[in-house]
């Protein structure tokens, strides 16, 4: 069934729609692929063959009954384990939620089901989405299909690894500081962070509520746009959801025209300290865009230099508050309830045993930053920086249509290299964080392999809030030109499946 697996999601959806292949056949092919390679990759925390096949048969039955279904109906998708699912466990890769089954579906989950997508399983991640390598999972290591000694990125590293290893054509993720774009970049995929409020947080286990944004992973730009469209849009159950139409991302992905587009290169996100091969591919892509008729302008966003610092105060502050819900009383783990201990002691023992080192570190850091006496100096100052970053974006978008940068300072780093050094790990998010703090749309598209290590490099495109379509337009132009010249990037991966 390598034919089915090598198809794009768009083509597979069309083939299922035309009756050339059933969803059950496609789902079976992908389940078999997961069985054969996931022992090496470790992308999935949970796969239930029977549940997946039941969904596939239900889609086939809906179609047989004459129901009009969307372009991805019957296509398998992998779901990050941070989204609530009633028919599969939902753990956020934490021991504190081991085996938990939510009583309701996340809005994103419900929309995947309505669109007829088949949820193949739940993917590994950094615990509670805190990390850039998926090494903070309480359950397992996930490996990068390009080099299995390297990290697949994070926090949505199970999703990126699953798509890059052709275990599934599409996957969901959440992006709080880069957790979709960074794993997409290091695995050679397209990954998008929609405008904050453009995709629903309802039923997503919260990390930092003012930043968390669900988004898509795919092997190409059009597939990412189709998945983006399938699960985004206004949700009355999320109080920060934007009541506006989904930007025309699918049309933009088909168009891929950059003639006359003004592209701003952010000086602060193109540092001498970045890996040389990353900068080389980035600058070649700028030349490529120029040759296609785009106007390239260099500009400065000075407060971006403080974005990483602001983020590592704001995100831990919000997480220390959000994770207070894990109190060992209503759901999840409970430790030490022997009849003699108080509720408070049981709570403290449970949280100490149920949370991993990075989660504890961020809870303590956030508790400090929010403490009386330190609040103004840390959390307050970080919120002021957030205002300055928004102002920098606003000023830049008065002169250009999109901003661009490398997605990450380096290609995928070796497993274990940064796990004992939190600050080194945090640097992986340097270029992605500004868009989370300002809430604008942002996307990563592959722009080649770094010459020194042969690993994928990501090109980041940032657009104003609700102008997500511009990121897809530029990405489609880059993808089309590079694949006409070099062939599809993923076809060079050791885990590629050729048609």
């Amino acid at each position: 069934m390598s034919d089915v697996i090598s198809l794009t999601a768009a083509d597979l959806g069309a083939a299922i729609g035309a009756g050339e292949v059933s969803s059950e056949e496609a789902t079976t092919a992908y389940l078999d692929r997961v069985s054969s390679v996931d022992g090496e990759i470790g992308a999935f925390l949970h796969v239930d063959r029977d549940v997946a096949l039941a969904q596939a048969r239900a889609v086939d039955a809906r179609r047989a009954a004459g129901e009009e279904l969307g372009p991805l109906a019957g296509v398998p998708v992998a779901h990050k384990d941070v989204f609530s699912t009633t028919d599969m466990p939902t753990t956020a890769a934490s021991k504190i939620l081991e085996g938990w089954r939510p009583p309701y579906d996340a809005t994103v989950t419900a929309r995947l089901r309505e669109a007829g997508l088949v949820i193949l399983g739940k993917t590994n991640m950094d615990e509670f989405a805190m990390g850039s390598s998926t090494e903070n999972s309480a359950y397992q290591v996930t490996r990068n299909p390009w080099d299995t000694d390297r990290i697949p990125g994070g926090s949505s590293g199970g999703s990126s690894a699953a798509v890059a290893a052709f275990e599934v054509p599409l996957a969901t993720g959440t992006d709080t500081g880069g957790s979709i774009r960074q794993p997409a970049a290091v695995c050679g995929l397209v990954g998008a962070k929609p405008t904050y409020g453009g995709s629903s947080r309802y039923g997503v286990i919260a990390f930092a509520s003012s930043l968390d944004t669900p988004g898509p992973f795919a092997r190409n730009v059009l597939d990412a746009a189709l998945l983006h469209e399938a699960f985004s849009g206004h949700d009355p159950r999320d109080s920060t959801s934007i009541d506006a139409p989904v930007p025309p991302v699918v049309d933009a992905a088909r168009l891929g025209d950059v003639e006359g587009l003004r592209v701003g290169v952010v000086k602060e996100l193109d540092s001498d300290g970045f890996q040389p091969g990353v900068r080389q591919r980035f600058h070649e892509t700028l030349e490529l865009l120029e040759s296609l008729g785009a106007k390239i302008v260099e500009l400065s966003c000075p407060s971006f230099d403080a974005a990483l610092s602001a983020y590592y105060l704001i995100a831990p502050s919000e997480c220390s508050s959000n994770l207070a819900r894990f109190d060992a009383m209503r759901y999840g783990l409970r430790v030490g309830d022997d009849g003699t201990r108080s509720a408070e002691e049981v709570m403290s023992l449970t949280r100490a045993e149920g949370f991993g080192a990075e989660v504890k570190r961020r809870i303590i850091l956030g508790t400090y930053a929010l403490s009386s006496g330190y609040y103004d100096a840390y959390y307050g100052s970080a919120q002021q920086v957030r205002t300055l970053i928004k102002r920098d974006f606003d000023a830049a978008f008065e002169n250009v249509d999109v901003l661009v940068s490398p997605t990450t300072p380096t290609t995928a780093f070796p497993i274990g290299e940064r796990s004992e050094d939190p600050m080194a790990m945090y640097l992986a998010d340097l270029c992605t964080i500004p868009s989370n703090l300002a809430g604008n749309a942002s996307l990563s598209v592959p722009c080649g392999l770094a010459p020194e290590d042969g690993l994928p490099v990501g090109f980041q495109i940032m657009a104003p809030p609700l102008a997500d379509d511009r990121t897809y337009r530029v990405a489609a132009a880059v993808e089309r030109t590079l694949s006409e010249r070099d062939g599809a990037l993923l076809s060079r991966s050791p885990y590629a499946v050729q048609g």
Binding site: Y104, S309, R330, S348, A357, Y368, A377, M423
Partner: protein, 99 residues
């Protein structure tokens, strides 16, 4: 350089209901100092009269109609509970012996 003492970490751990062991307190004290030193950059940039932003986008409160709607059944609500008694969450004692 921001120095965080072990006692300060122990206090933060009590506030955040984390029963950390001795070695965790030592490790976190060192790491927290390093992280706070690095992120103190925000204090250099955030000078003067800049309004804080708690969110990226302007927020207005959202209400739903005040109408009775179906909700979780007791069985659904209690399905993930660590302990249940008489259709309620069973919890450890909340008050101390002397109270």
């Amino acid at each position: 350089m921001t120095a965080i003492t072990r006692d300060e970490v122990a206090h933060l751990a009590r506030l955040s209901r984390l029963a950390l062991d001795e070695s965790e307190l030592d490790t976190l004290a060192a790491q927290l100092g390093d992280i706070l030193t690095a992120v103190a950059k925000v204090q250099e940039v955030a000078k003067g009269d800049i309004p804080p932003s708690s969110h990226a986008l302007p927020l207005t409160n959202v209400y739903r109609p005040d109408e009775a709607r179906p909700c979780l059944t007791p069985e659904q609500a209690l399905a993930g509970a660590p302990a249940v008694e008489e259709q309620r969450f069973r919890v450890p004692r909340i008050l101390g012996e002397e109270e």
